[in-house]
Amino acid sequence: MNKRNAVGQSILRPDGLDKTTGRALYLDDLPENGCWHGVTVRSPHASAVIMSFDVSEVNDPEARVVFAKDVGRRNSVHLIHDDWPVLAEARVNHVGEPVALVAAPTLARARTAAQAIAITYQEQTPVLSLDDALAGDPRTNGRLNVLAECAIEHGDAALGFTQAHLVIEGEYSTGHQEHAYIEPHGVIATPALDAQGAFTGIDIVGSLQCPFYVHKALTYLFDLGPNAVRVRQSVTGGGFGGKEDYPDMIAAHAALLARACGKPVKIVYERHEDIIATTKRHPSRVRHRTGVARDGSLVAMDIDVLLDGGAYITLSPVVLSRAVLHAAGPYSCPNVRITGRVLATNTAPNGAFRGFGAPQTLFAVERQIDRVARTLGIDPFAVRRRNAYREGDETPTGQVLTESVSAIAVLERAAGATGFRERHAANEIARQNRKDDGQPLPGIGLSLFWHGSGFTGNGERRMMSKGALRLGDDRKIEVLSSSTDFGQGTEGVFRQIVADACGVSLRDVVVHPPDTAAVPDSGPTVASRTVMVVGGLLHRAGVKLGQTLCTFAAYQADLAPASVILRGGFFETVHARTPFAEVAKAYLTVHGPLTVEAQFQPTPNSTFNEETYQGDAYAAYGWGANVVEVEVDPDTFAARVTRLTTVSDVGQVIHPVMCAGQVEGGALQALSWGYLEEMKMKDGRYVNDRLQTYLIPTMADAPDMETILLENPTIHGPFGAKGVGELPLDGGAPALVQAIENATGIPLCALPATPERILEASRFLS
């Protein structure tokens, strides 16, 4: 058992050829079968009271209009707190907030009807930034409007500062980031109607990450039983967290319209609508006070994290949680105090974006570590090496890192692979003696980071996810889980894990598409949890399924149960080798289909206290180091990334090509958040609310990448695997900004590092 045939091999992903030939059907490619089309009427104001609705100019007799009053009393997206209205009722809290819905037989007619709806507003003063929010929120009578808060205490920070050689302070900020998945949001809702035409349930197909989130939201919204709502995923063109919570909203809208018109209703967002309406990465402001010893050792850290939550709570409490838990970086420090708050503003709710709060706080701590290095005259590598976690170290939550700790390994490998120390030092010297000859300035930067795999704290214990395998009449082992593939290659890696866990061939394993009517709830596809947590469940189920069949085969052959093993697709005894399909057929004839379910089992003796923030924050951590090489134009300050080297410890690589693809794709998102992507705002409206003006990297911006994967296995994942989805988002921006500093001498504290911002920082410097 557990012999690795498939794990570690770059097999063709199951959806690969459908996607390269264009045969894969995304939401907007599915047959419409006479469905109606839905459009959304949105608020033009950031903060306003709704004064009146008027539909008298809607001339289309077939068009159906839905307002908040038609929703019923459960008018909220049921997620963590029920404060996010499906449709605004009395007031609007952000530009683009949904106020009314329209369905009609064609999209053109739905749009015409929507334009005829007149809504009047009385505008109020909006809260549009963290600065505004800190000045007090009119919605809470001028008090701070805190959506979530938490704090971590470790050792005695106050005492630590008195023992420090130096105390160094810094403030760091980051902005919104748009997911910019290439396929915008889309959903088709088909109503179930009884003989009298009354609404009894809803069937959803959509571009989404979390089918059971949508299921939960709709059973709540319509007060329906679990079997009256069915949610399936269509082929999904990217998510990055952006299709974690928002599909609840768009599915609710389509379902409300389907109930109103009694027809299937399709809603597909145009890009502009997708950008203005959906969630973004939380803007952040992080303050650091760091006490250091003469040799650069960290003595005390005081960190205050502020996130801009936007108009509603949505996922902010959990984003904040991950933000503060990563805020001290992968560094050992005896005395740490971390406080975190999410404040409300009048922008679209900020939500899940790959990295989930950690990229913001890791940018801040990495910049602060650079400031420590600069102040003490130590190089960026040495200060990191001195403080990085070793096995046995304790994190600010009191978690002792007992296994799979690779901070030093990834750091040394990254520096070694690039000649970082020598090149960084050479650039520093070259800069002092630079001639003003217009030549691009070379810079090199290094970052070190960690990322907790799976849900934070008690999340997995609360979720108690399930996964199952089913040996069916076709003699295939079918994977049943709600984990969705929106690009990562989930289906492929699940087949690999299950094939090796059972001891069968890849051809014996198939994956059921996510469908709430057919698969158990394995939790959402988020938090770098798919391979480690859900893959772990499937591994356990696979081992058990293999054992059950071995026991059967032994009984059939009149042998002791332990004398048969299943490996490489064959049942083996000392005397014989029988193909899997043969034994499977015999089993099915005697016993019928075999289903084996596995449920999450918490680690014994592991606890996390959500009040004190003490305990084991994550079962395992991925570790990464990035080296970014840049050239900065000395006249325009435009930075170009010329090369990226990443080193990532993922525990065990299941599929080398796809794993590298996760790292590379995530890393480019991180780099572009660092220097290119900037959501500008005026009066609460995103100014660059289209792809023509919100820039994401093209191939011309993409550096050559060297991707090094290390394998330091964890006991918590299948074959030792940890999560890889989010880790790559954590290190790109700080390494890039350090490289710009290495090139120009200008230390930036805010993202993105646009030419304008570098120029501004250079003025401050002189």
């Binding site: 996607k19 390269t20 030939t21 264009g22």
Partner: protein, 170 residues
């Protein structure tokens, strides 16, 4: 006002009745049912709707129907016969050029056109030619590599499932 337009799509002559300013993207997807071509932004920025017009990549969301009268249009469906997969498409999938797949049909047609001009392109030639199509998933590295593998400039990393299943001899 509707008019008739005659042009060639994937080697087959077609006749479409439509408004002169109808987007080629909608004609291809809705009228001809070729849904391999995707809409990502509708303003010529993301390139997901790329098709070849007389052999050159264009954003089909920006091409009005009247402009294709008499032209040769190639969509991703025209890159390989309906039940087959071209070697470029296979290598693109095995070498990690594909993740979510929403940009992939556009990438495939654009790279096909690139390879007609540069049979062994350098990375900078790829950057220049393909930068009109955005990919948000891959960071582009595996797209470069897939092209390099296809053109014999790099060793393949993907392995066949059969080879894995057969494994080393027992």
């Amino acid at each position: 006002m509707n008019s008739n337009y005659k042009f060639t799509v994937n080697g087959r002559p077609v006749e479409v009745t439509g408004r002169p300013m109808a987007r080629l993207l909608d004609v291809v997807r809705r009228d001809l049912g070729l849904t391999g071509t995707k809409e990502g932004c509708g303003e010529g920025e993301c390139g997901a709707c790329t098709v070849l017009l007389n052999g050159a990549p264009v954003c089909s969301c920006l091409v009005p129907l009247f402009q294709v009268e008499g032209a040769l249009v190639t969509t991703v469906e025209g890159i390989s016969p309906s039940d087959q997969v071209s070697e470029l498409q296979r290598v693109f999938a095995t070498e990690g050029g594909v993740q979510c797949g929403a940009c992939t049909p556009a990438m495939i047609v654009t790279i096909r056109a690139l390879l007609d001009r540069h049979p062994k392109p350098t990375r900078d030639q790829v950057r220049e030619y393909v930068s009109g199509t955005l990919c948000r998933c891959t960071g582009y590295e595996r797209i470069f590599r897939a092209i390099e593998v296809f053109t014999g400039q790099r060793k393949a990393e993907g392995v066949s499932e059969t080879a894995v299943d057969e494994g080393p001899p027992p």
